[in-house]
C-alpha cells in the first residue's frame, strides 16, 4: 500500500448519487486543509461521479484503487477553503 496517513474514513457503500458526493463534500468541509479522507465507493455510477465532483470542488485525489469486484477506495486530500 502507498504511504499515506489517513485522518478520516467514510464508508459510502450502497449510497447512491448524488448523496454520496454530498456526504463526501460535507465530511471534507469539517476537516482541515491538507488532511486526508478515505472513502469507500461502489463500482459503477459512484466511482464515475464522486472523484470528479470532488476534484471540481478543489480537493486533490491521491489514490483510486479497486478493492474487489464491487468497491473502490478513494483517498482525497482536503483542498483550499471553499
Amino acid at each position: 500500500m502507498e504511504n499515506i496517513k489517513v485522518d478520516q474514513k467514510i464508508d459510502l457503500r450502497g449510497v447512491s448519487c448524488p448523496l454520496n458526493f454530498v456526504k463526501t463534500k460535507l465530511k471534507l468541509e469539517e476537516m482541515q486543509r491538507g488532511q486526508v479522507l478515505e472513502v469507500i465507493l461502489d463500482d459503477g455510477e459512484a466511482i464515475q461521479n464522486v472523484p470528479r465532483s470532488i476534484k471540481e470542488e478543489g480537493h486533490k485525489i491521491l489514490v483510486v484503487a479497486r478493492i474487489d469486484q464491487k468497491y473502490f477506495r478513494v483517498v482525497i486530500e482536503r483542498g483550499e477553503e471553499s
Binding site: S16, L19, K23, L26, K55, I61, V64
Partner: protein
Amino acid sequence: MNKKQKIDLDQLKKGGMVKLNEKDMFSVWVRTVCCNMDAKKLQKVADLAEKYGRGYVLFTTRQLPIIPFVHIDDVTTVKEELEKVHLMLDRCGARVRNTDVCYDANICSYAVTNPISLGEKIDQFWKNDPGGRKIKTSIAGCSKQCTSPRVLSDIGFVGGEKGYDVYLGGRLGLKPNIGSMVAESISEEECVSLLKNYVALIREEKWKGKRGADVVNALGVPAVKEILNKNLGEKHSEKAFLCDTRQDNKIEDGKIILRIRATCGEVTSDQLRKIADIAENYGKGFVHFVLRGGPEIPGVDKSKIEEIRKKLAEVNLEILDQGVDNLQTCFGAYCTNGIMDTQALLKKLEKIIKKLGINDLDIKISASGCPNSCGISHLSDIGFLGVIYPIVNKKTCTGCEVCVKACKVDAISIQNKLAVIDYNKCVWCMDCINACPFDAIEKGKKGYSVLVGGRGGYSPNDQRGGETKLGKVIKEFVSEDEALEIAEEILKNGKYKS
C-alpha cells in the same frame, strides 16, 4: 455550518435537481402532470426563478419547467416554496421519469386516442410503484408522435384508431435506438399491465443499470414480446387520479393551440408571467410543455391572435407561426458534460434564418452540448452535437480504471497499467476526460458533429414523409462558423453538397 445543514439530503436522494457546471449551482426540475401547468403555479415558478435563480426558466425536451442556477443552499427553500402551491420536484437519474404526453384528445384535433387518460393511469401506477430503475415513458395520441415515443422512451405508446401500439427500447444518447414494436392496438388497461410486466422484468438484478434498448438487444423482440404480453387482461383496482387539466368537452370551433417561440427554451420570469397571464385570460388557464421547447397555450380563440401577439411583443415574445420550428437545445453551455456552447450557436443561426426569410415550420433544428443528445439532435432535420477528442497522457495516467467505467461505449481498456482508447469506438463524449481523477485524459480538438435527416414522428402533410428516423452524421469536428455555414447551405438548397 448551519447553512450547510440546510441541504436536503432526502431530496437529493429523490432527485429533481441536477448539478450545473458552476460551483454549487443546481438546476431545479419542477414536476408537471401530463406536461401541463396551471397559470398560478407558473407565476410561482417565474417568481422563484427571479428570486433564487437567474431570472429565467428553461423549457426543455423533458417537458417540464427547469429553474437553472439555484445555489445548493437555496434548493430546500425553493422546494418548500413550490410545495406551497402544490408543486414538487421531478425525479431524475436512476429513477422513473415523468410520463411525457402530448394533449388531451379534446384539445388536439389530430388525437385518435386520449393520451391524458392513459397518462393518468400510468401516473397512478407509478404512485404505487417506485420503479427503481431509469424508466422513461411517453405517450402520443396519433402517428404524428409529437412526444417521439419511439425514440425517447423505454416504453412508448403511440395512439392508433384501435388503441395503442407499444414500442420498447427507444433511447437517444451515445447509443441511440429506435424502439421495437412489442404490442399492437391495445387498450389503456392493457398498456398499464404491459408496463407492469416491464417493471418486473427490468427489476431483475441482471438488468441493473440497463435500459429497455439493452433488454431488446439481449433477448430479441419475440422473447421480450412474450414476457411483456403476459396477462394483459388483468384488472387494475387502482382508481386513476384525474389530471386537473383534463378537458371534458371537445374544444370549441375556432379555438387553437397557440405556440410561442422560445429559442433555446429560455423564457425570462417576466415572459413567463405574461404567458401565464395569457393562458388565464385567453386560454384554458394552463400552459403545455412540448418536446420542442416552445410554450403552448391551448384553447385560444383565433380571432384574438393579433391582440395576443401585441401583448407578447411587450415582453419580446413571438408567436411560433412563421420561420422554422422552435430552435431547441439541451443545457448546452450550462451542463457539466457540455462541450460546445449550443445556445450561442442557435442564437446565431436564428439570425441567419431570419435573414434568409425561411418560412417552414416543419423544419426542425436542434443542438446538444455533447453526444448525449439531450437536445434531440438525432430527431431533427438538422442536428448538432458538441464533440471532443480525448488523448491519454501516459505520464499522469495511473491505470485506475475510472475512465473504463465511465466510457459508455466500451472504448477504453487498461493495457500495461495505462488507459488506451480505441478511436474506432469512441463517440467523442468527454465522459472519460471528466471522470479521470488525475486529469490524465487531455482535451484534443473539439467542435460540432452535424447530423441531417432525423425525424421524431410521422407528419401527414410532410413531403419528406417517412417514419421515425435517426439523423446521420455528415460532418465531424467542425467549428461553430463551419456548422453555421453548413446549416445555411442546407436551408438554402434543401441539402448539403460536399
